[in-house]
């Protein structure tokens, strides 16, 4: 099967890509760039880095821009998947959905209309185990957005490793935060992963934060040899 991966450049879609590649062929990445920072469907910080990540992965990128209005962005996602189907003859798509029925059912409806398969290889998986899988598989993932109490700017730019996971799990028990950020509490950016032929080096960045909301913006980056 030829698949397109809905790709935000964050940990879940990158892990879903790796799982998909172990079972089927991956023909392209599909990215929806939302102009709305509070997009209902699409991860936003550092979405521009997806072009560099696609290059590191050696995969073509189908990218469409959305204004990010609630239901219009679904039409834009449908346009992106339709474009991937026509350009790369994909039979199906892969998402990094873990818990969100809101996201999963909307993507399923689009796939049904376009007559393509829809796979969610992380669906319902234990969130702590997912984070540990990333570390075990030597993904280099940084926290690029925080959006919930008691997270703050001190978390931004931190690499996900055993200590960060332990702290996130502790916050889950105290404050009900989803440790993998499934509720939108954190966003992440992948700088290196097993399928990356080169890794991403950050040359310049900016932190924008206020209270419990903040983003780590990669202003300049390049690919370097692993």
């Amino acid at each position: 099967m030829r698949l397109g991966v809905l790709f935000s450049g964050g940990k879940d879609s990158t892990l879903a890509l790796h799982l998909a590649k172990e079972k089927e062929g991956v023909a392209c990445l599909i990215t929806v760039v939302s102009k709305n920072k509070e997009s209902y469907m699409f991860h936003t910080p550092n979405i521009d880095v997806t072009a560099l990540q696609a290059e590191a992965l050696g995969l073509p990128l189908v990218s469409v821009v959305t204004e990010g209005r609630k239901e219009e962005e679904l039409a834009d996602l449908e346009r992106a998947i339709a474009e991937a189907k026509s350009k790369f003859q994909i039979d199906g798509i892969v998402t990094g959905a873990v818990e969100s029925v809101y996201q999963a059912s909307r993507v399923q409806r689009i796939c049904n209309r376009l007559d393509v398969w829809c796979f969610n290889p992380l669906w319902k998986h234990d969130q702590k185990a997912l984070l540990e899988t990333l570390v075990d598989r030597q993904f280099k993932v940084i926290i690029s957005g925080v959006f919930a109490y008691p997270l703050d700017e001190k978390w931004l730019g931190k690499q996900i490793g055993p200590q960060v996971i332990a702290r996130l799990v502790e916050l889950q028990s105290k404050f009900g935060i989803s440790p993998s950020g499934e509720g939108g509490e954190i966003e992440t950016t992948v700088l290196d992963a097993p399928m990356f032929k080169q890794k991403i080096e950050i040359l310049d960045y900016a932190v924008e934060a206020k209270g419990n909301c903040g983003v780590f913006i990669i202003k300049q980056a390049r690919l370097v040899t692993k």
Binding site: E24, G92, S105, C118, F119
Partner: protein, 180 residues
């Protein structure tokens, strides 16, 4: 020991994580379970299991509906069986109950029609299906949505089918089945 049957179109498929593992993660803490793909089932070897769960599949996956003969063992089986989505559709075909088109994707209001040990009252569930069953000869409808029959029970046997996905939401239904 509970048997979870992988109903996906091929062994070790990309849909395994999505439709089989979530069932195992609910059942396993309550009772030891084993997973087998439907193509690898040996009807003679089913005696070692207390109950059997048939998983759902991706929306475009109709493999088991085209290979109903692989499930003839269901007719002879005296175990508790629960078919989820494609599992329920396949069980229906085994008993010659025709399927009818009914597409539902997303959270759906379910109404219980008959007392049963798995669920009661009205509740929301995650639906992802192309087909339901019409009026049945061998089964009674035990739940419905506004569009179609959502759950069935065999009139004589301990065979249940749910069209919605209890492993996604309503995991207590799977737990109750495990504890029957």
């Amino acid at each position: 020991m509970i048997l979870v049957v992988d109903m996906n179109w091929k062994r070790d498929s990309l849909a395994f994580n999505e439709f089989v593992l979530p069932i195992v993660s609910v059942v396993q803490p309550l009772e030891e379970c084993k997973v087998k793909h439907f193509l690898d089932l040996d009807p003679a070897g089913l005696n070692g299991y207390s109950k059997i769960v048939l998983s759902g599949t991706a929306l475009k996956d109709h493999a088991t509906l085209k290979q109903v003969d692989k499930f003839n063992w269901v007719k002879m089986c005296d175990k508790h069986i629960l078919g989820i989505c494609a599992g329920m559709q396949t069980i229906s075909l085994v008993f010659d109950e025709p399927l009818m088109n009914c597409l539902q994707i997303g959270m759906t209001e379910i109404t219980t029609l008959k007392d049963n040990p798995l669920f009661q009252g009205d509740f929301e569930a995650y639906a992802l299906h192309n087909y339901s069953v019409g009026p049945c000869q061998n089964f009674e409808a035990i739940a419905k949505s506004s569009k179609c029959i959502q759950a069935i029970k065999h009139k004589q046997k301990d065979i249940y089918g749910v069209l919605f996905h209890p492993e996604a939401r309503n995991q207590e239904i799977l737990k109750r089945f495990t504890e029957l």
